[in-house]
């Protein structure tokens, strides 16, 4: 057991702040060990202070915030591409995001406070791999992919496969998340977050739904949840029930029941697993009512 220390200082660090992606990838290639990638640091610093994250002395901090190549928001054939170090505020304020991906805007608008959103980056929010990350929840519903780059290599990983556990991802030690790609799709979406107070609070649970309709039936639906499992997850059993049909009182009931059964929430100081399970159903109900107006 570790002694109680109210707030720990940041340990001694070696600080490297490359201006280009090549430099950053070279750095990762050369020194695979003892590197901590830093962007906004809004998750890293509190974790160090509280003792949840122990940095070894003289750890190499790779600050990627100054890399211009990671700051783009563009909409093109492939879809919406957002650079990893775009801040959460920049996402919210972007006309491109507003017009092409309102779901993402809505989810990110509810992360932290304005001060946090002004400094935290979308890449950081994803790579931190919090089970409660609101951005990841919306990106799951949007079927986004992540571009992971290492020296001379690049691969695309569907966000659905990216998370491994709390704080754990498929990112290799020489890799950097460089951009998020959201495929171009037409559809309706909604995002609902439940916190304990009205503002600036971690999600007890959050839900994002993206739905596509064809001939008055649901042709595709993606439902993602935060804070109900070790990682943000898709509720694929529930999706299956809804695809190909209309929303009726009956299948709404089944969907609510199914979603409660397919998640595995934890107990913590913020909520019990029972409440989270219960709420996954209630938020799904609210989300579907929002979307279908029933």
């Amino acid at each position: 057991m570790r002694n109680f220390i109210g707030s720990r200082s940041i340990s001694k660090i070696s600080y490297f702040c490359p201006k280009s992606l090549t430099e950053a990838l070279d750095f990762l290639d050369n020194c695979k060990e003892n590197v901590k990638i830093l962007a906004g640091g809004t998750d890293v610093i509190p974790a160090v202070r509280s003792g949840k994250l122990l940095l070894i002395d003289n750890i190499n901090i790779l600050d990627i915030k100054s890399i211009d190549e990671l700051k783009h928001i563009v909409f093109e054939e492939e879809g919406l591409r957002i650079g990893a170090t775009v801040t959460l505020s920049e996402v919210i304020e972007s006309e491109i995001v507003k017009n092409n991906c309102p779901l993402l805007k809505k989810a990110i608008d509810q992360i932290g406070s304005m001060q946090i959103r002004n400094w935290a980056t979308i890449g950081g929010n994803i790579c931190n791999a919090s089970p409660a990350a609101d951005s990841a929840v919306s990106l799951l519903a949007l079927d986004a992919s992540l571009r992971l780059q290492s020296k001379g290599k690049s691969r695309l990983v569907p966000i659905n496969e990216f998370f491994v556990g709390p704080g754990k991802t498929k990112l290799k030690s020489d890799e950097l998340l460089t951009e998020i790609i959201i495929p171009k799709r037409n559809g309706n979406s909604t995002f609902i977050k439940l916190g304990r107070r009205n503002a600036f609070t971690l999600s007890l649970i959050s839900i994002a739904v993206f739905v596509q309709m064809k001939d008055n039936v649901i042709s595709d639906i993606k439902i993602a949840l935060g804070a109900v499992a070790p990682t943000p997850i898709r509720a694929q059993n529930t999706e299956k029930i809804l695809i190909g049909g209309k929303i009726t009182e009956e299948n709404l009931k089944t969907a609510v029941q199914t979603i409660k059964e397919e998640i595995n929430p934890i107990n913590d100081v913020r909520a019990s697993s029972e409440y989270r399970r219960d709420m996954s159903g209630e938020l799904l109900r609210k989300a579907l009512i929002n979307l279908f107006g029933i």
């Binding site: 057991m1 570790r2 002694n3 109680f4 220390i5 109210g6 707030s7 720990r8 200082s9 940041i10 340990s11 001694k12 509190p46 202070r49 509280s50 439940l194 304990r196 107070r197 009205n198 503002a199 600036f200 609070t201 971690l202 007890l204 913590d268 100081v269 913020r270 909520a271 019990s272 409440y275 219960d278 709420m279 209630e282 938020l283 109900r285 609210k286």
Partner: protein, 779 residues
């Protein structure tokens, strides 16, 4: 002249963390990893070898140099156990985070690096974390020598309980639990200590609410005469009672003496929450004697209070158990009251003061009883209140518990709140929404706030007002400004009485040289204000009589305005500046009338003390004034999630004569917000191992801008006959009334489901749980 507010907003305030002294060292505490454990070994070797480490203190050094922390309050007619407490663990840690070592280093970073290297070997013991289990015979013990976990006990009885129950038509059983919560202002605790070899005085600059108490605690603990200890208040970033405790500071001071350098300790927010003063955490079980017409006759209750590790040495909040019982009758007639009260120790941080100081508990219990009585009798809670309220012609009213209420008009307050709340509209709305399966509720909380405690040091006050030789006025009255506006109010009082321009008055920063100075018990508008008013009136007389001599006028012809003494009948006048020049220099006292010189009244410098005439005549009325507030809240509950949305909030207040309405309103807005936070989500949650889980602002949630309702505030005024200016102490009623009004409103909203709210905070999860439970019962 820059005001306190102008200075602070410009970044020129000096809070403890802003103090920089040459050669200053930094202190960081390392606390226990376990809630309950014997300490087997402390290995400091690695930590001490780090460059920049000056020393590390542990229980061993403390035991050599210090007395145990001095208990300041006791009680001869209560079971009142006082453990031996040192600020660092000697052998057994009794709560998670309890300080074991104090690292003194050249910089905060070095202190932290070293703290990480301290190796402590523990022998963990089973922790006591549950209030009700703690008093079972099989429970592990915090203090073996006691034989149980009860620190405080007494059965108190007021009025005729027996008769009240004999006369009852029915007996109502009630249960009410308030979970652990506290204030946690944005600035945590901290101090800078420096032993001055020239004056041989230990100087401490501190974020304390009471330099006087701090001086006593520190001198006692360090075995120094009080005259060798001087505490000066830094600017204080909020207190709410949380900065009355004083214990870690003794270690910082000891370190300063031992190393011969200034030492600074500024606590982190997590340390504040984990090792700071905790409050509330009460469990009431009771029976209420009621008549079918809504009359509440009497109450029998058992009260369990979770005092955490102890509540007599780090601070004396065990005392809160007395007002918790005495304040129960609140605004109502009551024939009899009996409370069997237990202060129980558990492996949690210590019990300390927080806005409300015990009286809050009794009042909330009573307001819950009113609500539950209404429900039992199928009556409107407003009708129950009106049936039992003390009437305006009954003042001064001697309550069965001994409190003598000074003045008031509770029914008028209630009527005003109902009017502003537009209740008929909301009652209709409630019905309408119920048809849509939505749950709207209205809740009321009445609070009669006992203020200005007259026991022990609380009642000590002295004010000094003087004209300095430059013709300005200096005011000193033991009422430190921790943000509650006492600089402004003291200046206003003196300006009004003396006829001086506001910016000709300097309010002296509080320090331990004063007779007694502290912020607590809403005493500001009672004790220091009255002493100040008395002193200012005396100085005014003296200024006029000096001017009469210098102007050759009769004193009765003279008046003061804008720092000028002028004759009402002639054109003669003299400015304060000129008056001071004459009084002090030329001609000086020799130029004054013979009478004054013979009576030695030749200095424009007056002191006055004050004691409550109420408490003097009625020693059981330990409080002097009783301001009152009515809170009315309308809210809606989302039955699916359990979330609460406040739609309307009204607060009507009677604080007697108001010195500055903006200041009073500020207290009301702030108090209400804290009460709402406590009602809905603020909670200190321990796990079964006794670790505090809600140990930061991300889990101990305090309200944000988006949580605060617009509050409609209205004032009524019945001046207090017991204070010098008719003022009443205020500042605590809003946190009390708001919490219980919100709880009552939640219960009202859920009443179609038959739900009784038995616990706070009413978090969305709890509310949803009650809803689901009630549905199961229906099904």
């Amino acid at each position: 002249m820059q005001t306190r507010e102008e200075k602070i907003i410009s970044g020129k305030g000096i809070y403890v963390d802003d103090i920089v002294m040459p050669n200053m060292a930094y202190c960081l505490f390392v606390g226990s990893a376990y809630a309950h454990a014997n300490i087997k070994k402390i290995d400091l070797q690695q930590a001490l070898s780090l460059p920049g480490i000056i020393t590390i203190l542990t229980g061993k050094e403390i035991l050599e140099a210090m007395n145990p922390l001095p208990p300041t309050f006791g009680s001869s007619d209560w079971l009142w156990r006082t453990p031996i407490v040192y600020p660092l663990v000697l052998d057994k840690a009794r709560f998670y985070g309890e300080p074991i070592a104090a690292v003194i280093a050249e910089s905060p970073d070095i202190a932290s690096d070293a703290a990480n290297l301290i190796d402590i070997e523990y022998d963990p013991l089973e922790p006591v974390v549950d209030l009700t289990k703690a008093i079972e015979p099989a429970s592990p013990l915090l203090y073996e020598e006691w034989g149980d976990n009860i620190q405080i006990h007494k059965k108190v009885e007021f009025g005729d309980v027996q008769r009240s129950f004999e006369e009852a038509d029915r007996i109502l059983k009630v249960s009410w639990r308030e979970n652990r919560a506290s204030g946690f202002p944005i600035e945590a605790r901290g101090c800078v200590a420096f032993y001055d070899k020239m004056t041989e005085i230990l100087n401490v600059w501190s974020s304390t609410q009471s330099p006087s108490r701090a001086q006593y605690y520190l001198a006692q603990a360090l075995k120094l005469p009080m005259t060798r200890v001087k505490i000066t208040m830094a600017d204080v970033g909020g207190g709410f009672g949380n900065k009355l405790n004083w214990w870690k500071e003794t270690v910082v001071a000891l370190a300063a003496i031992l190393i011969g350098r200034p030492v600074k300790w500024v606590e982190s927010k997590r340390e504040f929450i984990v090792t700071g003063p905790h409050q509330r955490d009460v469990l009431w079980k009771g029976e209420v004697a009621i008549k079918n017409d809504g009359t509440i006759l009497g109450i029998r209750a058992k009260l369990l209070v979770d005092l955490g590790v102890e509540s007599t040495c780090r601070e004396g909040a065990a005392r809160t158990l007395a007002p918790a019982c005495q304040a129960i009758p609140n605004a109502y007639h009551l024939k009899g009251l009996e409370v069997d009260v237990y202060g129980v120790v558990t492996n949690k941080s210590f019990y300390g003061a927080y806005r409300g100081f015990g009286k809050d508990k009794g009042i909330k219990f009573m307001e819950r009883i009113v609500q539950m009585t209404a429900r039992e009798l199928h009556m409107d809670p407003v009708q129950i209140r009106k049936k039992n309220l003390i009437q305006k012609e009954e003042f001064p009213y001697e309550q069965i518990t001994g409190y003598v209420y000074d003045s008031g008009n509770y029914e008028a307050l209630l009527e005003k709140a109902l009017e502003l709340g537009n209740l008929p509209y909301w009652e209709k709305e409630k019905q309408k929404r119920r048809e849509q399966d939505r749950y709207l509720g209205v809740g009321i909380g009445i609070t009669v706030e006992p203020a200005g405690l007259g026991t022990s040091t609380n009642a000590l006050t002295m004010a000094r007002v003087r004209m300095t030789p430059d013709g300005l006025i200096e005011v000193e009255a033991g009422q430190p400004d921790i943000g509650q506006g006492s600089t402004i109010t003291r200046r206003k009082i003196a300006a009004d009485i003396l006829g001086v321009k506001m910016d000709h008055i300097e309010v002296k920063r509080d320090n331990s040289d004063m007779v007694f100075t502290a912020v607590f018990s809403s005493r500001g508008a009672v004790y220091p204000t009255s002493a100040l008013a008395k002193a200012a009136k005396l100085l005014r007389q003296r200024i006029i009589s000096f001017a009469a001599d210098f102007l050759n006028e009769s004193p009765s012809n003279l008046d003061i305005k804008e720092s000028v003494v002028y004759s009402k009948t002639s054109h003669k006048e003299i400015t304060f500046k000129e008056l001071a020049r004459k009084a002090y220099f030329s001609p000086g006292p020799i130029g004054l009338g013979t009478e004054k010189k013979i009576n030695h009244e030749v200095v424009l410098d007056v002191s006055a003390t004050w004691f409550s005439p109420n408490t003097a005549r009625h020693p059981k009325s330990t409080y002097t004034t009783f301001c009152a507030g009515v809170d009315l809240v309308v809210l809606e509950i989302d039955k699916h999630t359990g979330q609460v949305n406040i739609l309307k909030y009204v607060h009507v207040h009677d604080a007697g004569t108001v010195i500055d309405e903006n200041i009073v309103d500020g207290q009301i807005y702030g108090g209400i917000m804290q009460g709402i936070g406590e009602a809905l989500y603020e909670e200190l949650v321990y796990n079964q191992k006794g670790e505090l889980l809600s140990n930061s602002y991300s889990d101990y949630l305090i309200p944000t801008t988006l949580d605060s309702p617009n509050v409609i505030v209205e004032h009524l005024c019945t001046p207090s006959p017991f204070t010098e200016l008719g003022t009443k102490g205020m500042g605590e009623a809003p946190i009390i009334g708001s919490k219980v009004a919100v709880i009552n409103a939640i219960e009202d909203a859920l009443s179609p489901l038959g739900i009784v709210v038995t616990e706070s905070p009413a978090t969305p999860e709890r509310i949803r749980g009650w809803i689901l439970e009630s549905k199961e019962e229906v099904e």
